[in-house]
Point group: C2
Chain length 344, copies 2
Amino acid sequence: MAETIKIRNMEEFAEASGLSRPTVSKFFNDPDSVRPATRKRIEEALKRYDYRPNIYAINQNRRLTKTIGIVVPYLSDPFFGEITRVLEAKCIEAGYSASLFSSNGSHERESKVFDTLRSMKPTGVLLAPLGRLSDQDAVASFCQDVPTVLFDSNINDVGRAFIGSDNAQFTALMVEYLYRSGEPPTFLEMKTPPNPNARKRRQGYIMAMENHGLEPFIIQIEGEGWALEDIGLQGGLHTLRSGALKTKTVLCSNDRLAIGFLAACHQEGLKVGLEDDADIRVAGQDDHPFSRYTYPPLTTIAQDYDAISRWALDTLLALVDDEKASGSRPDTLFQGRLVMRKSA
Amino acid sequence: MAETIKIRNMEEFAEASGLSRPTVSKFFNDPDSVRPATRKRIEEALKRYDYRPNIYAINQNRRLTKTIGIVVPYLSDPFFGEITRVLEAKCIEAGYSASLFSSNGSHERESKVFDTLRSMKPTGVLLAPLGRLSDQDAVASFCQDVPTVLFDSNINDVGRAFIGSDNAQFTALMVEYLYRSGEPPTFLEMKTPPNPNARKRRQGYIMAMENHGLEPFIIQIEGEGWALEDIGLQGGLHTLRSGALKTKTVLCSNDRLAIGFLAACHQEGLKVGLEDDADIRVAGQDDHPFSRYTYPPLTTIAQDYDAISRWALDTLLALVDDEKASGSRPDTLFQGRLVMRKSA
DNA sequence: ATTTTTTCTTTACGCGCGTAAAAAATATAT
DNA sequence: ATATATTTTTTACGCGCGTAAAGAAAAAAT
């Protein structure tokens, strides 16, 4: 297919296809902006010479670069891995290229990612901040420089919009279910959770319990960082051995903690489940990709990854189109869905 | 800090810091290439004016862009998530910026990533190909255009080097252990695995069994794609119910399959573990991040993520430095380490 | 066939930076 | 202090493309 002549730039390619460079340039910016016959000529020349415009030269001259930045706190967390995957696919569908970044749980990295993104002049950025660990000022100043939609983890009045889950509803739903099907749960969480959702879930728990006229009971376990399963395991062992747990039902702040807590239960020889002979019921929140393969499969609250990521991207694109339209900062919270499995 | 004057380009910044543009340019390419006094002046001006060179203009004029591409088949797989995270960090350490891409299990995507990377003129690329699903020609032609080191999944004579694990050793090690500690295993794998490592592991299994004078016994389960846990679960249920399994010991081709198979065992009411009253022993391979949290914790073969990723990057950088040095294509296989947990 | 509209070509400039060569300034060695 | 080596400045060109303006050509409408 490829001819012997090597095309070095758009000039040469235009010549080879018998057109002028501005016309070819127009084509690459929008294939439909040229006459169908012209388009066909270019596309055929494209087969013969396999030429690609230099992206750096393109982006140097654009104010917006048809790129969308995606930043997550921790890429090896399957939750973020999955949402990143979906977001990337949707960006491409929408005609943008996606640039992926992971803050790796460190605010230094997060701030450096901001610098990199600034210089990339992306159309917009989808940002899941580190949360409590973020350098709040750095996030705020970044969001002023680049159109940014926050997701997963909210920071008040920062960014142009927020997409997340209705944490209070998540917890209320689960408390309701656990209460009706047996016993109201003890709430298990990290003492210093990296993610602000945890706080909302705790509040949701307290409120839900009080609404049922029950007394909330919260256990806070030690641990720093993003190794949540291990924190759940260690904290779980400590909790179980110390006898701090007064109920036979535990609601974990999130699935990763729950996965660790399940391991602790097994290590202590406890039978987990909703059967009569079980020692303890354990539930999580998030519907982590692995929660259906735990033993027993984890009862949890499902987030709609697809809806969240679609909505986040749509929000960003709408926002960018409308220029600096509304000064409002819409928050969209998605409802969770109860997923009943065997663990509770 | 930031002055009122907005710096628009390197020209203005050079003026503001009382130097010439070429000197400033030199500084940004290597801060140590200018006199310490000059360096200090620039660094102080940098505080005052927060200027950053335009990356597109920079890269347009460089043949190599101080960028390293990282491509994995599936980002939401914690194994690749983790290795990506480590690789990214190491690239930055080495003074490169990393561009992350996921093929999302599709060769169309993979080929498009190749196109994108080609136009990015990266210093080099670390590529974990889809494997069997890859467009072999596309991979080969890409590797000719861009210095590429393959990892995880090998393709014969493609790329400048390969870093992976010694799959035969993995399996032999596990077979040896299982045999000595009880009973030689049945090997459970996908009929059409997406990854070529599977084939090597099967061969390793057969060889290991024959070395012990035992007859290999392989069960191949159905399923396509990357939802390995689900494939392990469905195939496991089928296997267990059909009575195809003749041993009480199962070695799965990888941990994700094993995680699914464990779920199948539980669903069938089997007790997994190495205790006398257990019904079945299950082992995996890879030391997947989740395998220590399964029930029972999964006995497996650990890959050294850190060593693999470090070696892959070092190999790539050495290769790029030595220009087109040796025509050899070194393959480095890392040995696995037996991780004994409770499942087998 | 003529006019109108759309599309294309030509010409020209700018983007922000790399980089080469030669001259000037500065630092180091003798 | 003078010679030598190093660093910096000046000057100048090029990278590959966006884009604007004006005229030419082609297509569509009358």
